[in-house]
Amino acid sequence: MNAFETWIAFQTIVVREVRRFLRIWVQTLLPPAITMALYFVIFGSLIGSRIGEMGGYDYMQYIVPGLVMMAVITNAYANVVSSFFSIKFQHSIEELLVSPVPNHVILCGFVAGGVLRGLMVGVIVTLLSLLFTTLSVHHLGIMALVVTLTAIVFSLGGFINAMYATKFDDISIVPTFVLTPLTYFGGVFYSIDLLPPFWQALSLANPIVYMVNAYRYGILGVSDVSVGLSLGMLLALAVVLYLWAIRLLDTGTGIRK
């Protein structure tokens, strides 16, 4: 395929993905808005007012960046894992496999779909948060880079999960038993400085801590960890997961007999 045809193919996959999550917006865009609004009400307004300040900001302001990241992570992952597994399940993956679309384009198309849903949900959650608090952006570039890289990393994670999945249970195991605990222990609701040394050290092994803190730095200007290290880790993770996913596509794991 020449560059123009490749671009059309990429565009086609992305449009199909976006059309899919917009068509089922009640399942894809509305739930994170409701869940996060509840977090804002309960943790921010009701409990947060009793907690006082954290990291020099009132509790509500402190948790907003983490909650936005939580929504981005969950939705980027969920979009790709469910969309790709569903086309595997319905065998409509064959539409792509019989076509001349290069594997890199297939992967980039699905990841772009995940990133777009992640970012769209991120914007919705951010707008909702403005009903409860005020936000200023400390460093727009870092904020945008971190949220985009995070969405890419988790979209790739969702893609790999879908490649290996053979039944619907397989696409809920990682989000339930891996992503949710890592996110809750990822410094969304607290600064890891509050933890005892052992738990603080253990938290540093959780990549989500770096993502949440780097994003929080982009908005509030505070972080428990080095922002440079966070960006480096995100980039490294994106590269490793991309190579893993493309290898799976090249060998046809789970999609070609």
């Binding site: 395929m1 020449n2 123009f4 045809e5 490749t6 059309i8 193919a9 565009q11 086609t12 996959i13 449009v15 199909r16 059309r19 068509r23 569903s86 086309i87 319905q90 065998h91 409509s92 064959e94 539409e95 792509l96 496999l97 019989v98 076509s99 001349p100 679309v101 290069p102 046809g252 070609r256 007999k257």
Partner: protein, 326 residues
């Protein structure tokens, strides 16, 4: 003449089983080939390898000169596949399924829209363009897969049992459509369980069984291998028992319908003379359909005189033919 497809020593080994044992055949541009075989013979595996759905374990495949190992994207551009199972998203609109497929081939939206309209109209689906695919009937779904396979205008169209579960009227109209696009230059490979379909459409037949090709010849030569041909005769007066006609085997399908086996080489005049002598008046005569079916069973059971040696008899070839896949 250009060769549309060349398959050389193609092998596929699944865990513990060899689905293809080094098959070779080629298809000329413009041919209409029937690829026949009982369930599990290796037809769908062969098609899957050509189209990129199955990884081969040995051999080579090239489509219009493009080797799938060296330039699979270019090879894939030449091929359109109508698979056996419905494999489109159940929630997408009919029109979107076709236009999206065109996009995967790098066809711009304006061209894709025009082609989608053309093929959906041609296949009687234009009125349903805004319907979700799950709302279509079985026959419409089959036609949608044909429209989708043609939207990038492939030079080689492969249909894996395209008329399974389709009513007779629709099947005939699909046959006519396939004949038309074949006449227009598209090379077609067809697998089917309806052997009447292969006999009616295809000039060449390739029979595959247990991963090897047991016959590859033109349909007419294959039919010439029949040692016996069966005719159905409507008779004026019903009979209580089949008549004894010297040199012919007769059966009564119904009291007024006589089934007669005529050995190859015997003149029909002799049959009519014998019928005349027995006082039987024939009101109409027709050849029994599915002649190929008898040959097919003979080939896969290895009982056809002069036919290529076949593997061991398969479990239930006749059932496979009559019932299609379970």
């Amino acid at each position: 003449m250009t060769i549309a497809l060349t398959i050389n020593n193609l092998e596929k080994r699944y865990a513990g089983a060899q689905a293809l044992k080094g098959i070779s055949f080629s298809v000329q541009q413009g041919e209409f080939l029937a690829l026949l075989g009982p369930n599990g013979a290796g037809k769908s595996t062969t098609i899957g390898i050509i189209c990129g759905l199955v990884n081969k374990t040995g051999g080579t495949v090239s489509v219009f000169g493009h080797d799938i190992d060296r330039d699979f994207p270019r090879a894939k551009k030449q091929v359109g596949l109508v698979p056996q199972e419905f494999n489109f998203s159940q929630f997408e609109k009919v029109y979107d399924v076709v236009v999206t497929q065109a996009g995967y081939y790098g066809i711009p939206a304006s061209v894709a829209s025009a082609r989608a309209e053309h093929y959906l109209k041609r296949l009687g689906l234009w009125e349903k363009r805004d319907a979700q695919t799950r709302m279509l009937s079985g026959g419409m779904k089959r036609r949608l897969m044909i429209a989708r396979a043609l939207v990038h205008e492939p030079k080689l169209l492969i249909l894996d049992e395209p008329t399974a579960g389709v009513d007779i009227e629709l099947r005939r109209s699909m046959w006519e459509f396939l004949r038309e696009i074949n006449r227009a230059g598209t090379t077609i490979i067809l697998t089917t369980h309806y052997l009447e379909e292969a006999e009616s459409l295809c000039k060449r037949v390739c029979i595959i069984d247990k991963g090897v090709i047991v016959e590859d010849t033109d349909t007419r030569s294959l039919l010439a291998k029949l040692s016996m041909e069966t005719f159905l005769l409507d008779i004026a007066e019903p009979l209580a028992a089949p008549p004894a006609l010297a040199g012919f085997t007769c059966r009564l399908a119904e009291p007024a319908l006589l089934e007669v086996d005529v050995p190859r080489g015997r003149a029909m005049n002799e049959l009519f003379a014998a019928l005349d002598a027995a006082g039987i008046r024939v009101t109409s005569l027709r050849n029994r359909a599915n002649r190929l079916e008898e040959l097919f069973v003979s080939l896969v059971q290895g009982t056809l005189p002069g036919g290529a040696p076949a593997g061991a008899p398969i479990a239930a070839p006749a059932a496979a033919i009559a019932g299609g896949k379970p």
